[in-house]
């Protein structure tokens, strides 16, 4: 069985292809969305998902979120006394999803397809694969998120001919893909995106707005607990404004309570620069597909942030039509990756469907150009694989050394679209020794091979000797070697994972602790006593006694939710 995983910035999901359809799998709390959060509990065990998210505010130094943003980089995230790479934290999420799938399916799971933003770079893709490996999953296939969303939509209408655009604004990334469907072929025509633009940025913008409007001292920014609570307020207000005209952000800094009333216009003003950034990828995707927006049959929204009315309105004006929202934008990517699992397993229901994808960015090398007999212009980018070429693809170009004397060429490999390499992303370099000889003999053929998973291989062949230098791109600190992956795999295995069957109670306690932090005075003491009572019940390990205690505590928390005692409590 292959499972499909949508490893998101904010939430992750797992799904399978079963009985001719995509099925989402619930976690141990009975929910399909597992927050992409990891926390180290007091006893050193690892909490994943909602329990960890509850602890973001109460234990910010032991909890991590939005680490997908750091995938492919060398950045370490500290939880308690241990530091983690983003791959490791992602691996912990994947492990938890894998356990959920195994519990639901009743069979061991060893293989997964994981979705990545279409615009994820080589290093980010490698990091995602490494995370899978560390979680004990074979990840032969990565799938681009907007392609997955399109699969979810397209699978039911693959006989018809259609062109559509997927507008995928998730928690941390923005992707646009244009697809054409005909005769059972689902062909991605173009993809574009922004890896640092998502719903999280909207929340951050509201936090900034709060600091400005309420005139909070900057030192509060150092207080990670305060910042997490304010972030949660921003998140809440953002959501509330989706369904009501006003929302309030409210927070206590220990001395005074601050609050800020927000309406739609305020939200729009706060995230205007972000909304403007949505435009460029859409324009690029349409141009590259050689289409006018009027030629699109449908615009599909995916990603939780497309729930914002603001974003929907913008999409409507950009395309001159209302977008399709038949499927839940939080779930559409997971449903699509399940379809891909079915395709990979050659499920009979999908035998007449083939999907092809593209390389979302150009890949090439640095080039010098001769201006006249004596002068050169350096630093030009020469693409070998142009963006939006259908993959898998292998392309070769021949180059000549700039001078007759050099004994080697150093190929600098770049990814990006700018004319000059300084504005593109360096992927690595490859040193090729050159023989003596004339210009033709010293020519080298540079071959770029880009596979369906978006991983690049570079090969250089010297004309005279025929010698080939097949090199995996190296020198990128964000990419782990196989050996390092194995080491991390081992060290992760030593971590104690919180028992799955106790996660529900642990999550409830984490939530109670979060409320406790927000309450003051008598209410706080009272909730403290309730928490202690529940902990004592848990210690008895007697399920018959724990169950009613769990219900009682949950009811108390639900009541508190509706009160005004908490930050941002609506008092409704």
């Amino acid at each position: 069985m292959i499972i499909g995983i949508d490893l998101g910035t904010t939430n992750s999901l797992v799904a399978v292809w079963q009985d001719g359809q995509a099925r989402l799998i619930e976690n141990s709390l009975g929910e399909v969305l597992t927050p992409s959060c990891v926390s180290l509990d007091a006893d050193g065990s690892v909490l994943v998902g909602r329990a960890a998210r509850e602890r973001l505010e109460t234990h910010p130094d032991r909890t991590a979120a939005v680490f997908k943003r750091y995938m492919g980089s060398d950045r370490k995230i500290r939880l308690g006394s241990r530091s983690f790479r983003p791959e490791e934290l992602s691996a912990l999420i994947l492990k938890s999803l894998k356990a959920d799938a195994e519990a639901a399916l009743g069979v061991p799971v060893t293989e997964a397809i994981i979705t990545v933003p279409a615009y994820f770079s080589d290093a980010q893709r490698k990091a995602t694969r490494a995370a899978g490996q560390m979680a004990g999953l074979r990840v032969d296939r990565l799938l681009n998120e907007p392609t997955a969303a399109a699969l979810a939509y397209g699978i039911h209408q693959h006989e018809e001919e259609a062109k559509f655009l997927v507008f995928d604004l998730g928690g941390g990334t923005f992707d646009v893909s244009i697809l054409q469907m005909y005769d059972g072929v689902m062909e991605v025509r173009s993809s574009a995106g922004d890896n640092f633009l998502g719903g999280q940025d909207v929340s951050d913008a509201l936090v900034e707005l709060f600091f400005r409007r309420v005139d909070l001292p900057d030192r509060l920014r150092q207080d990670s607990g305060f910042m997490q609570r304010l972030g949660a307020q921003a998140e809440g207000a953002k959501r509330a404004l989706g369904s009501q005209p006003r929302a309030t952000m409210r927070i206590h800094d220990g001395k005074t309570e601050h609050q800020l009333e927000l309406d739609e216009q305020a939200l729009e003003d706060a995230c205007k620069p972000l909304l403007l950034r949505l435009r460029a990828p859409v324009e690029r995707a349409l141009r590259d597909a050689n289409l006018r927006s009027s030629e699109l049959d449908t615009v599909v929204l995916a990603g939780g942030a497309t729930r914002m009315p603001l974003v929907r309105r913008l999409a409507t004006t950009m395309f001159g039509r209302f977008p399709a929202i038949d499927l839940n934008p939080d779930e559409v990517v997971a449903l699509g990756v399940a379809v891909q699992c079915g395709l990979k397993m050659r499920d009979a229901a999908l035998s007449e469907v083939v999907m092809t994808d593209v390389a979302p960015y150009s890949l090439g090398i640095e080039l010098s150009m001769r201006l006249d007999e004596t002068s050169w212009s350096h630093g030009h980018f020469d693409p070998i694989i142009e963006r939006n070429t259908v993959v898998p693809v292998s392309r070769v170009k021949t180059y000549y050394p700039t001078g007759p004397r050099a004994d080697h060429i150093s190929l600098q490999v770049y990814q990006g679209e700018a004319r000059m390499v300084r504005d593109n992303i360096a992927l690595g370099s490859l040193k090729v020794p050159l023989p003596q000889g004339n210009e033709q003999e010293r020519a080298i053929d540079v071959r770029f091979t880009y596979d369906i998973n978006g991983l690049l291989q570079v090969e250089a062949k010297v004309a005279k000797t025929g010698q080939t230098y097949g090199v995996v791109i190296e020198g990128n600190p964000g990419v782990l070697t196989e050996e390092q992956i194995q080491q991390h795999l081992k060290s992760l295995a030593e971590l104690k994972i919180h028992p799955r069957d106790q996660l529900e109670n642990r999550t409830l306690l984490a939530r109670a602790e979060r409320y406790y932090e927000q309450l003051r005075g008598d209410q706080r003491d009272w909730l403290g006593r309730q928490i202690m009572a529940f902990e004592q019940l848990l210690a008895t390990q007697d399920a018959r006694r724990i169950a009613p205690g769990q219900r009682t505590l949950r009811d108390i928390l639900d009541q508190l939710d509706k009160s005004t005692y908490l930050d941002g409590g609506s008092g409704q």
Partner: protein
């Protein structure tokens, strides 16, 4: 169409059926389902290239067929815009598209982008081409009025790009094409200030492929942008001399005979090195410049522009677009 293009064989198509895009894609789909893309990447790539060649060939053939075919550009023509030198300064007169223009709508001046108001109803969409043409006409008029410098032009261009009438993607593309055409056309005073802001506003430098969609025009602008890099690398003295020379060429005053003797060879060098850039920022058009400068009509020397030049690839079975 005497020889059988190889892509037809690869797609197992009968040339007698005179295939169109639909037929090509259908044939490709049929073959594709017999291939395991993951396990046989080379086979897939060969098939895919056959389709791409076929599509290019069909596009080319369809362009050739009607004699009155439009210029080979993938983007639609703009609605005819008013003559470039409209001397009248009244703004209302230059907006031919009345659809969405209720007269005194406030336009935030230096703001680069304006979102539609929250209540903007999306229902009836005005023609994006007409909207773009109207905004472009206003830009053109302002340029015709003689703008002081690149900074003013930049602010102006960004403001126009933020115009709600350019909210639709299609309108933006049409607007960009219009600006590209203006630059690619004959030089008029003010154009020299437009190139740099246009490169910035449309991201022509940050996206190497963006101008490709403009066909010949795009190729010319691409060359001009590369040449601009050369000019920017000039030393200060060279730069001052260049600016002075360009100012003299642009000036309508009759040339000073004393300076002419120096200017002509200098201009000749520029024509050789940065012909496309020169054509955009000055009235010197490379095709006519040789004779107008009184130099011998010697054709421009061809030399390898790239040191690491690309080896010539076998030409595809059909002419590329």
């Amino acid at each position: 169409m005497s020889a059988l293009p190889p892509f037809l064989a690869a797609l197992e198509l009968d040339p007698a059926t005179d295939p169109d895009e639909r037929a090509l894609r259908r044939a490709y789909a049929r073959r594709l389902k017999q291939i395991d893309v993951e396990a046989e990447p080379a086979r897939f790539q060969a098939l895919r290239e056959a389709l791409d060649q076929g599509l290019r060939w069909v596009a080319w053939r369809d362009q050739q067929r009607p004699v009155q075919a439009p210029a080979p550009e993938p983007l639609p023509e703009l609605a005819p815009s008013p003559a470039p030198t409209l001397a009248r300064p009244t703004q209302a007169d230059t907006a031919p598209a009345p659809t969405a223009r209720d007269a005194p709508r406030a336009r935030p001046e230096p703001d680069a982008g304006t979102l539609p108001p929250p209540s903007a109803a999306p229902a009836p969409q005005p023609d994006p081409d007409a909207l773009a043409a109207a905004v472009f006409a206003r830009l053109q008029q302002r340029i015709g009025e003689g703008l002081a410098d690149a900074e003013t032009t930049r602010t102006l261009l960004l403001r126009f790009l933020g115009d709600p009438d350019l909210a639709s993607i299609d309108a933006r593309v049409a607007f960009e094409l219009a600006v590209a055409r203006l630059l690619g056309g004959a030089w008029r005073p003010g154009h020299e200030h437009l190139l740099d802001p246009a490169i910035e506003a449309f991201g022509w430098n940050s996206d190497h492929a963006r101008l490709k969609h403009f066909g010949q025009l795009g190729a010319m602008l691409t060359a001009a942008i590369r040449e601009r890099g050369t000019v920017q690398a000039f030393g200060p003295a060279q730069r001052i001399a260049l600016d002075a020379l360009l100012a003299r060429i642009r000036s309508e005053a009759p040339p000073d005979p004393a300076l002419l003797a120096e200017d002509v060879p200098q201009l000749q060098r520029l024509v050789e090195r940065v012909p496309n850039w020169l054509r955009i920022v000055s009235p010197v058009a490379p095709s006519t410049s040789a004779s107008s400068c009184g130099a011998s009509g010697r054709p421009r020397r061809r030399r390898p522009r790239r040191a690491w030049r690309r080896a010539s690839e076998p030409p595809p079975g059909a002419p590329a677009a």
